[in-house]
Symmetry: C2
Amino acid sequence: MSNNQVDSVVLLSGGMDSTTALALAVQEDVFSKVLAISFDYGQRHRTQELSASRNIARHFGVERVLVDLTDLGNLLAGSALTEREVDVPDGHYTDETMKVTVVPNRNAIMLSIAFGIARARGATKVWAGIHSGDHAIYPDCREEFAQSFRTTMILANIDLEPSQRIYLATPFIHMTKQQIVERGSWLGVPYELTYSCYKGETYHCGTCGTCVERKEAFELAKIGDPTDYAPTPAAV
Amino acid sequence: MSNNQVDSVVLLSGGMDSTTALALAVQEDVFSKVLAISFDYGQRHRTQELSASRNIARHFGVERVLVDLTDLGNLLAGSALTEREVDVPDGHYTDETMKVTVVPNRNAIMLSIAFGIARARGATKVWAGIHSGDHAIYPDCREEFAQSFRTTMILANIDLEPSQRIYLATPFIHMTKQQIVERGSWLGVPYELTYSCYKGETYHCGTCGTCVERKEAFELAKIGDPTDYAPTPAAV
C-alpha cells in the first residue's frame, strides 16, 4: 500500500449527522488516519455545505477530499436539492413535504465512490451518518439497504485479503437526531460549524424541513442550539 | 414523468460488449427509447473510447450522455486505466497481467450512477455488458455481484411503484466474448466503430490484454475482424 494510506473514510456533508460520524471515527483510535469525503453535486446549499465540511475537517485535523460531481448533478436534476427552480418546502421533515428533496440513488452513488476511494487508499472502514429520522422518506437510509449494500461491496471487492475488507459503519442507523446530538455533545462535536439548511443562505432559515428537525433535536436533547438562524420577519 | 422519459439506460464504454448490449436494448422493442451513458474518468484510452461511444450512439440513433468523473478518476488513480505512469501489460487477458488495469469499485460506481439517471429519466432497465471473461479478475463482473447489486438497488428505490422498478440486465454474464461477437454479428453490430485497446492510440495495438482478447473472439467466432491494428514493427 502506498504512503497515502488511511484507515477510515467518512462521508462528510457538513451537517450534524456526518460530523458526529466523523467525531466517532476520529475518537475510535487516536492513531488512526481518517479521510473525509465531501461531494459537490451542484446542490442548492453547496456553498455553505462545502465550506462547513472544510472547516469541520480542519477542526478535527483530518484530510478532506472534495469529489466534483456537478456534471452528474445536472443529469440527476429535477429534485429540489439540485434544481433551483423547485421550491424547498417549509415545515416538518415528513413524507409529503420532503419527497421533493430526493436526489435519485444518492446514497448508493456516494457510498460506491467512497468504497472506491477507500480501496484506493487502503481504508477498511467507510462511515456514513444515516439515521432513523431519514427512514420514512429515503429508502437508501434504511437498515435493509445498508445490509444489502455491505454484501454487494464485499462481493465487488472479494479479491481483497480478509484483513483489507472494507466495512460500512452506520452507527446512527437506529438512532434519532436527538440521540445523535446527545452523543455528539458528549464527544465535543462543534455543531456551530455544521450546516443543515436546504435553502443554502448564509444563516439557517429555521423553517425548512431540515432546520425544523435541527432545532427540535437540540430542544429534545436539552442542549443549547449554537445555530445562527435568520431573523424572523417580525424581528426585522 | 417529464417528457425526457426513456425506457432503457445502457452503459456504453465504446467496446465490443457494451455496444452489443446497446444493440440488444435497441432491438428489444423498436418503439422503446434508449439512453446510452458513457463515463470520462480520465482513462488512458479516453479519447478513442469516448469518440467510439459517440459514433456508436449516433449509429443506433440513441441519445448519449457523457458523465464527467475526471475528478474522481484522479482520486482513484493508481490503476493503469487512469494513471499514465503505470505501463499497460501486454499479453493475454489473464489474472496476473490484468490486475493492474482495475479501477477500484468501478462497476458499482458506474451502475449506481446509471440507476440514478435511470430513475431521473423514468427508465425501468439498466443494461451492462459484463461477461464471463471478466470474472476471473474483476469480482464486480460476476453473477454474485450482479444479483446482490440488483437487490441493493431494489431496496434503495423501494419507494418506486412496482411498474417503475429498475432492473439490471446483464445478458452476457454467462457468455464468452466469442459468443457475444456471434450474437452481435447476427444483430448487425458495427464492430468497426468499437474501441478496446487499453493503450489508447489511434490504432488498436494488437498486443495488450484486451486487443489479444478481441482478436481471439473474432477468430473463434470465425467472423472477419474489422479492427485496424497498428502495423507490427517488422511490417514498418
